[in-house]
């Protein structure tokens, strides 16, 4: 059992609240839920829509063959009615007109006004949706009660009932059986990972679609005893984070492409001063302002070398909310262990896509700071940038040890941290820093592989392409194709074992990416010489979904 619902309307109509509540009710009824948002860069008006897919089985991607459309504006008819299935239902208020036998018109606003609160009109529609789906009204009251104060909650319950009884059931729904799940989006998962991973200071400048990381961490500021600072610009944000990390607390910053561009000089600062730093870049289509509220995977090439000069860095992309949570904790630990920069790549699609995932396991997580204390070091001879065999020098917390001071410098520096132009010291310090790229080999996680054991066609993707590729691979296998997919999370340094293994036996390698130039394919060729013969690329700001990948592979590759 699997249903797809689309909610369309203009900004300011309460669609977000509608969607969040409906998702929560479905989740608590034991279904697996996946929802993604498509919104314009405006506060009022325009046309936005949210797609909710739910099932008795886990769902990883969205689909645009719709069972139910809820239209809060006329544009919903114009833009989406062609995706409605033959047996689907178009549900709307009297203000929206669509002459079609699938339309069910409910006087939502009129009913809401009778109840005494025009604002509950959406909830009338929600009642109707559950009835149409053939579901009971269980879990509705508890979700409303946690969302609102008593009075508002009561009006909404009434609105729900009126909508529920206004219509007849059209579909049958099996009982949901999912247990111990949570409903969370990619950015919230990064934020929760940051908190669990011991971030004490997060500084950022608001920028869509990264802002919700800052918003969530900030909401726990007092309870978790951490500080979130809204900086005056992204340059300040990253330099604050570096200053705090230098002083000994775990820090993180986050932004989107344009803000990341502003941060680049400071990436080099973190590199040369060997200060641990985690930066999340939630990608959106560029260049410049690009498509501010839409999705793309086009910052990869840029991020691999961002900042002038050469520094060690690790780049990892998150694949779904569950991965985002654990990878954020891991990124923080790696940054501290190697005293270096780790960049987490997310994108708008995953940032805003809400998904049912297994509850996160906090029991096995750890915060590994790798901080030296007075007893670990030789106080008389301590040098912050002493050249060691591994390239890593014990790091102390400044201000904690009497008689010991530490200096960090953005200039090339001696072992003591003082400015130098010595050729010998330069070479030693460069080698010391860059050794991390070898050490990181020990940490790398190979890409996920799914599909045929002995594939003829290998699909390659990264980050948020995980869900779509997973379903597309299943669909292609059902058609009898020998297909497999490799989806990279760790990207740089590039893990190459599985890639080299599969590339020897497959006939065709296809990179599937959300950008124009095939950026992962370029990296793979650069690092391994392996060439992707075909590519499936998309750069209109809308995520490639499973069926789209499936059809394009059939048309363009197989």
């Amino acid at each position: 059992m699997r249903y797809n619902i689309l909610i369309g309307g203009s900004a300011g109509q309460g669609m977000d609240t509608f969607s969040v509540l409906l998702e929560k009710i479905l989740k608590r009824k034991g279904y697996y839920v996946f929802s993604n948002k498509d919104y314009m860069s405006r506060v009022r008006g325009g046309h936005n829509f949210i797609q909710i897919r739910f099932s008795t089985e886990p769902v990883y991607s969205y689909d645009d063959e719709l069972d139910i459309i809820i239209g809060f504006d006329q544009n919903t008819v114009n833009f989406h009615s062609d995706k409605l299935k033959e047996n689907g239902v178009f549900l709307c208020d009297e203000n929206v007109k669509w002459e079609d036998n699938r339309t069910i018109t409910i006087p939502m606003l009129k009913i809401a006004k009778e109840i005494g609160h025009a604002r509950v009109f959406g909830t009338v529609g929600m009642g109707a949706v559950l009835k149409i789906l053939g579901m009971s009204d269980s879990k509705v009251d508890e979700v409303f009660e946690t969302k609102w104060e008593k009075e508002t909650s009561e009006s909404n319950k009434e609105a729900f009932k009126r909508g529920y009884h206004y219509v007849e059931s059209r579909f049958e729904s099996k009982e949901g059986t999912a247990e111990n799940t949570i409903l969370i989006n990619g950015n919230q998962a990064i934020a929760l990972g940051a908190i669990a991973g011991g971030v004490s200071f997060y500084s950022a400048y608001p920028m869509t679609p990264s802002t919700s990381i800052m918003t969530y961490i900030s909401s726990k500021e007092t309870e978790a005893n951490l500080v979130v600072e809204q900086a005056e610009d992204e340059i300040a944000a990253i330099n604050m984070a570096i200053g705090a990390s230098f002083t000994g607390v775990r820090t993180m910053t986050g932004t989107s492409g344009g803000g990341f561009s502003l941060m680049t000089e400071a990436l080099g600062l973190a590199g040369i001063t060997e200060i641990p730093l985690v930066v999340a870049n939630v990608q959106r289509p560029g260049p410049a302002t690009g498509l501010p509220t839409r999705t793309e995977q086009s910052d990869l090439s840029f991020i691999l070398t961002a900042s002038h000069g050469e520094i060690p860095r690790m780049v990892l992309a998150v694949k779904d909310p569950e991965d985002a949570f654990y990878q954020t904790v891991r990124a923080l630990n790696i940054a501290d262990k190697y005293q270096m920069l780790v960049i987490i790549l997310n994108d708008q699609y995953l940032a805003d896509a809400t998904q049912t995932v297994d509850e996160f396991n906090f029991d096995n997580l750890s915060i590994d700071r790798h901080i030296a204390t007075a007893s670990d070091i030789d106080l008389e001879n301590y040098k912050r940038y002493e050249v060691t065999e591994s390239g890593i020098t014990p790091r102390v917390i400044l201000g904690k040890i009497e008689g010991l001071t530490v200096i960090a410098d953005s200039d090339e520096h001696t072992e003591e941290g003082h400015i130098t132009e010595s050729s010998e010291v330069r070479i030693e310090q460069m080698q010391k820093r860059m050794k991390r790229m070898d050490l990181l080999r020990e940490e790398l996680i190979e890409p996920d592989y799914f599909g045929d054991e002995d594939p003829e066609t290998l699909l390659i993707g990264w980050g948020s392409m995980y869900g779509g590729l997973r379903e597309a691979t299943e669909l292609l296998q059902k058609d009898g194709h020998k297909v497999g997919s490799l989806v990279f999370g760790d990207i740089y340094p590039l893990p190459t074992n599985l890639l080299e293994q599969y590339s020897k036996s497959v006939k065709t390698i296809v990179n599937v990416e959300q950008n124009y130039t095939g950026q992962l394919a370029k990296l793979i060729r650069q690092e391994t010489g392996i060439h992707c013969e075909k590519n499936i690329l998309k750069y209109d700001g809308r995520q490639l979904y499973a069926k789209e990948i499936y059809s394009r592979i059939k048309e363009e590759v197989l």
């Binding site: 949570i182 500084s203 005056e232 996160f360 001071t405 960090a408």
Partner: protein, 288 residues
Amino acid sequence: MATDIKLFNSNDENAWCPGCGNFGILNSLKKAFSELDLLPHQILISSGIGQAAKTPHYINVNGFNGLHGRSLPPALGAKIANKDLKILVTSGDGDTYGEGGNHFIHNIRRNLDITHLVHDNQIYGLTKGQGSPTTAKGQVTTMQLDGVRVDPFNPLATAITMGATFVARSFSGDVNHLAHLIQEGMKHEGYALIDILQPCVTFNKVNTFKWYKDRIYKLDENYDPTNKMEAYKKANEWGDEGIPIGILYRNEDATSFVDRIPHLRDGKPLVDREWKPLDAKKFMEDFR
């Protein structure tokens, strides 16, 4: 009570020109730290890039010599991380008022508890003599051969207008005066700006030691630094009419940035925060 001033001596080789005003500022810092009975590990100096920004290398305290124009943001991060540290910023007029202008303005709004020393020699020294934000209009430089075309930035008037809570000016040629102001700035609970007039012996042939010496005068005991309008007037006195030095404005009633965050104000420094991943498990309730 005073700590041994020699504790603050650094063994790093100094790259400043002989006779540079920076030496006076360096000596004032050591004197102030010693007289405040501080030890090197209790202090952090953050700086950007420029000749002034090399100061952390020439004094034995903790130092962060970061990027050009970005001396303030790391200082903010450091203060939030460890509120017990005494934090100062030393950078030049170009670094602070030019490249770092945005941070200058917004950190005044924060009233962060740091002391900000701007080595203001009214010229770009490290890049060899171009006009800085405080170079006089019309002054001929190595870059502005027909004279600077734009009006100079008035840091003190800007700071007072923005609501800065401690605004002062001193002169690198008067170590006692400057050391006293540094101490007052460090005692002030909030942001303390000290703009320091300083000759650049190599590139500024107009604002020489003598030029400053002939024009500066000390604000006397009758001057009321809590009068904001009077302070604004003093901030606009410049040139041949006389240049006031001393504390132009002081407001001890404002809350410092750290104190605006109750759990930071009342708790231990963040660097001593105790936190385990399991402590965050309860937040999963938001997603059930």
